[in-house]
Amino acid sequence: MSVGFYFDMTRCTGCRACQVVCKDKNRLEVGTLYREAHSYSVGSFPSVQAYSYSFGCNHCEDPICLKNCPVGAIYKAEDGTVIQDQSKCIGCRMCVMSCPYGQPKYFPEKGVSGKCDGCYGLRQNGSDPACVAGCPNRALEFGDLDKLRVEHGPELDDGSIVVLPDPDETHPNVLIKAKDCAFDEGYRELTW
């Protein structure tokens, strides 16, 4: 079994509510983000299109963070969630440096890394991950990838939109209902 996120790009407005609700749930201070939304435009004035994407841990099928952790602090829970046992972390930052998605984050003041656990604890109580439950526009879902694929149809992208790294490296468990413009290499970030 694999779990991961479904992202509906056609509903994401780039409001970054997911980013802040994640900081709230994980009590992250300024400087650390487990999830972040960015917006991009394609084309030039006045023929432009734009889209947003919410980046987070993809609970990869082949998590390189897990593979590269020298102390075995990162493991897969039974449901496929990639989880870190922070008490074992020696702060070597191998996970931080090896993740192509830049996901595990290093806390210099604590000398350890940390990462998204897909709000494992909340899910055990029947809730959605905080970013999913907090999205005002219902752009995110989390769950069994096979079920999400059945529910949202076969036309989903598996993480090959141009703002993401090649999915072949870690096989991210992410399903994206992408806009066509998200495959245009000539994108520019909206730094507003």
Binding site: S41, S87, T191
Partner: protein
């Protein structure tokens, strides 16, 4: 409920740190028996860190108008997490009322480490006026913590002195306030802040007041009707930034049903991006030129091809469009149609005429004219940015004319209306409402009102002449010429005026010119920074509960107390009573009952729509319930219990497609214009409106000679024309070649939340520049740039955008001004620091069509706002 003692001085940050440490400790217990390697197998899977706490319905009460659901988890004496609506399964029929990015950081507001927790006095200030006030040090001086007794004594003594010497006109406060009505009286300020020129008595032309938010008379249709439109024109409208809770889901539902969207805006905004809207870039403040050109093309196409203009609608529902349908009170024998055709000035308002002004390609205008034709179902849904422009006085009349030309009113799939706040795209009668508390009626002993930006000049000059035309928002009257004496005291009770009104630089000077500035504040806001005494006021999280002041058609937010007041903070009512008593008056004149009693009255008065279309009592209250609220009253029968009201964080009216609670704006009127006349003189929509013009003309403000009782193109006192040397479009550009507008921005609700660290990190607040403009100036993305206007200068980072019209600069609205006293340059990008007080016509504030220059800044580069120290640290006290 948690006690303030449980919250450390640094409040939020330390309280949350404690919870994180606790969770870590728990994991370590789980691992303690094993060796390092064995521990992996024994790692306790994460649990909900908020487990075993209590969820409390918490206020999210700001001037976004959202009214979404916010809950906080209180555990071990601290707020450890927030969440939004999960009280029922989510569906588009019955959606969860999920809050926005700002509401999720609400805890950093209420428990912010920068809360003001004790009364403060500016060190250099003493009562008595004149040199005692040492006014030039406002904004620069140091602060000292004083006791409540001393604060009230000092403030009362000074208020009494000024009151005895100058009377009520010695005081100024922008907004109506019960405390001040009893305390001293005050001159009020008026401005056209939110609704722009729609504040100028639109009821006279047949609209509702400000064209929004009036329930059964709403001009917008119910949300379930949005998908019935072929096209929705989002004119000056970006709901996902300006109403970012539930409403945008309604718009997405229309898109999913096949409705096409058109965005008319200087910016291809976030809503338009998501909806895949067709973008028509238009220069700020030039929308009327585009409207005239569309109207011209509609008439041309109608003549050439037919089936574009709905003449029946124009003839039966409007007056003033053509010579045959003039209102009987018209004093000018002119009409809109002949103006557009050029009969009066020899200039037909063709697309080619409009293009140099508004920047829209003529072919695009023709395309829009076809779309707006009567054969299509069209909703013209506007917000108010385009009405907050110099020269926009007649925009409401032109906008309604455009909708009327296509017959886009009173029918399913058609609308000509506003979209605003929680009801953006969801018009109609309120299905659930809160009651009102019955406090004594108080009123200001004087009625004088001054145009807010002009107030600063009057204060600096020690008085002066004003054309008093309003003393309340959106309520103008014929001019009452008034000579004002000196104003010696400025009050900031509930407003954010010094930050949110234009002409801020002169505003700071005015604050330095008076004897006394008194502010109630939660943070070192801009108002507070330039004050003498700051009284710490509670947030809604520290009060007994409430409903918030705006209304969401389907959801009535109800919140309860999260914590006892932090530090020495007091409620507005408690402070008001102390001040009133301080000057020797009876506090019961303003506040004769407890806040708990008021809350009970609001709960008892809640109403919900019944099956029969009549509003019914919502909440059942037993004698025990009333006692539990700390109130006195009579038990009552309703449809939900008090506990259900609390558990549900209010009440959401269940809707479903096809239910009986739909609404079509203007339907009664359009179906039967004679039987259901509007409130205008003619009973119809007045494209030519004599009454509104006569009111406007009575003000005697500069530039009135340009105006007619029907819409014409006005050269604004400041606007696009002003970017040229001689004011002629197409000539050489002047010293301020860019047009500047102030989009609402998701870091803040106006000025609220601008201090929250998470939001400062999330939304960096750059200045928006068109890429081609920046490149021609050698500016790269992220460079620190200097924005200069005739009135002030600010520095910000530049965001280079391909989604902004060239020639336009966007300075996001509401950043807390941060003036470098050595250079006079603001480092925060405060929009109002860059805008002056020029006015004409009705005196509309030109928030969105100012002029500016922009250049790469030669001084030190700005850092990130989220790395800057807060203006205030509770530890300092």
């Amino acid at each position: 409920m948690i006690s303030s003692q449980a919250i450390s001085r640094r409040g939020f940050i330390e309280a949350s740190g404690a919870v994180v440490a606790g969770a870590a400790a728990l994991s370590m217990v789980g691992c303690s028996s094993g060796t390092t390697l064995q521990a992996a197998d024994k790692h306790e899977l994460p649990t909900d860190p908020a487990k075993d706490g209590e969820w409390v319905s918490a206020a999210c009460w700001h001037n976004c108008g959202g009214r979404c659901m916010n809950k906080v988890m209180v555990k071990d004496g601290a707020v450890v997490r927030q969440k939004t609506d999960d009280t029922h399964a989510d569906s588009i029929d019955y959606p969860q009322q999920r809050g926005c990015v700002r509401g999720k950081a609400q805890q950093q507001q209420c428990f912010g480490a920068d809360r003001i927790l004790h009364p403060l006095k500016r060190k250099g200030w003493q009562p008595g006026g004149g040199d005692n006030s040492n006014g030039q040090m406002r904004g620069k001086d140091e602060w000292e913590v004083i006791s409540w007794d001393e604060a009230i004594s000092l403030a009362s003594q000074e208020i009494k002195r000024i009151s005895d010497e100058y009377g009520p006109t010695g005081f100024y406060c922008k907004a109506n306030n019960a405390t001040l009505n009893v305390l001293s009286g005050y001159v009020r300020g008026w401005d056209t802040t939110s609704h722009g020129t729609y504040t100028l008595n639109t009821t006279l032309m047949g609209l509702t007041a400000t064209d929004c938010g009036t329930g059964a008379a709403d001009t917008a249709n119910d949300r379930f009707d949005l998908p019935n439109a072929d096209y929705i024109v989002m004119w000056s409208s970006n709901p996902t930034w300006s109403a970012p809770g539930t409403p945008f889901n309604y718009w997405l539902a229309a898109r999913d049903a096949g409705t096409k969207f058109i965005c008319i805006d200087p910016l291809y905004n976030a809503s338009a991006q998501t909806l895949g809207a067709d973008w028509v870039p238009v220069r700020p403040g030039t929308d009327m030129a585009l409207m005239f050109a569309i109207a011209y093309e509609m008439m041309r196409l109608d003549e050439a091809e037919g089936n574009i203009v709905d003449w029946d609608f124009l003839n039966t529902c409007t007056v003033g469009f053509d010579a045959d349908h003039m209102p009987d009170d018209a004093t000018v024998d002119e009409n809109l149609k002949d103006y557009i055709l050029g009969a009066y000035d020899g200039t037909p308002k063709t697309p080619e005429w409009a293009q140099p002004i508004c920047g829209v390609e003529p072919a695009k205008v023709t395309e829009l004219a076809r779309i707006l034709g009567k054969q299509n179902k069209v909703m013209l849904l506007h917000n108010y940015g385009m009405a907050r422009c110099n020269g926009a006085e007649m925009l409401p009349q032109m906008y309604i004319a455009l909708g009327a030309m296509g017959g886009h009113m009173g029918k399913s799939g058609h609308a000509t209306a506003s979209v605003y706040h929680a009801n953006a795209g969801n018009g109609g009668a309120r299905l659930v409402t809160a009651g009102a508390a019955s406090l004594p009626k108080t009123s200001d002993p004087i009625t004088t009102g001054v145009r807010q930006p002009q107030m600063y000049e009057i204060i600096k000059n020690g008085g002066g002449h004003t054309q008093d035309v309003a003393n309340a928002y959106g309520a103008f009257h014929a001019a009452n010429p008034t000579e004002l004496g000196p104003i010696k005291c400025i009050y900031h009770m509930t407003d954010a005026t010094l930050q949110t009104s234009l002409n801020q630089k002169e505003g700071i000077e005015a604050h330095r010119a008076v004897d006394f500035v008194l502010t109630l504040a939660q943070f070192m806001t801009t108002n507070a920074r330039y004050s003498d005494i700051v009284l710490p006021v509670t947030t809604e999280w520290e009060r007994c509960g409430g409903f918030g002041s705006y209304t969401n058609r389907e959801y009535l937010e109800f919140y309860t107390q999260v914590t006892k007041p932090l530090g020495e903070a007091k409620t507005d009512q408690e402070i008001g009573k102390l001040l009133i008593a301080g000057v020797g008056k009876d506090p019961n004149l303003a506040y004769d009952r407890s806040e708990e009693q008021q809350l009970y009255e609001q709960i008892a008065g809640c109403k919900v729509m019944g099956d029969d279309g009549q509003m019914k009592t919502l909440v059942t209250l037993t004698a025990e319930d009333i006692k539990s609220l700390g109130a006195e009253g009579t038990p009552q029968e309703g449809v939900i219990t008090l506990q259900q009201l609390k558990d549900g964080a209010g009440y959401q009216f269940p809707r479903k497609k096809g239910d009986q609670y739909g609404h079509i704006g203007f339907k009664d009127f359009v179906d039967d214009p004679e039987g259901h006349p509007l409130k205008s003189h003619s009973g119809k929509l007045e494209i030519y409106c004599q009454a509104r013009y006569d009111l406007l003309a009575s003000f005697g403000f500069p530039g009135i000679e340009q105006y007619k009782p029907y819409p014409t193109y006005i050269v604004p006192v400041v606007g696009y024309e002003s970017t040229f040397v001689d004011g002629k479009i197409g000539g050489a550009k002047g010293d301020y070649p860019f047009l500047m507008f102030n989009p609402h921005y998701l870091r803040r609700s106006h000025s609220v939340f601008d201090n929250c660290p998470w939001l400062r990190e999330t939304w960096a607040n750059p200045v928006f520049m068109a890429r081609s403009d920046a490149e021609s100036l050698g500016i790269e993305d992220g460079d620190t740039v200097l924005i200069s206007t005739p009135h002030g200068q600010s520095i910000r980072h530049a965001a280079l955008l391909d989604i902004l019209m060239p020639g336009i600069v966007g300075v996001p609205h509401g950043a807390w001004v941060d003036v470098d006293e050595s250079t006079g340059i603001d480092h925060a990008g405060s929009d109002n620091y860059l805008i002056g007080s020029e006015y004409a016509g009705m005196g509309v504030s030109g928030y969105n069509n100012q002029i500016c220059a922009i250049s790469k800044y030669s001084g030190a580069a700005l850092g990130r706002d989220c790395d800057m120290p807060a203006r205030w640290n509770a530890d300092e006290a």
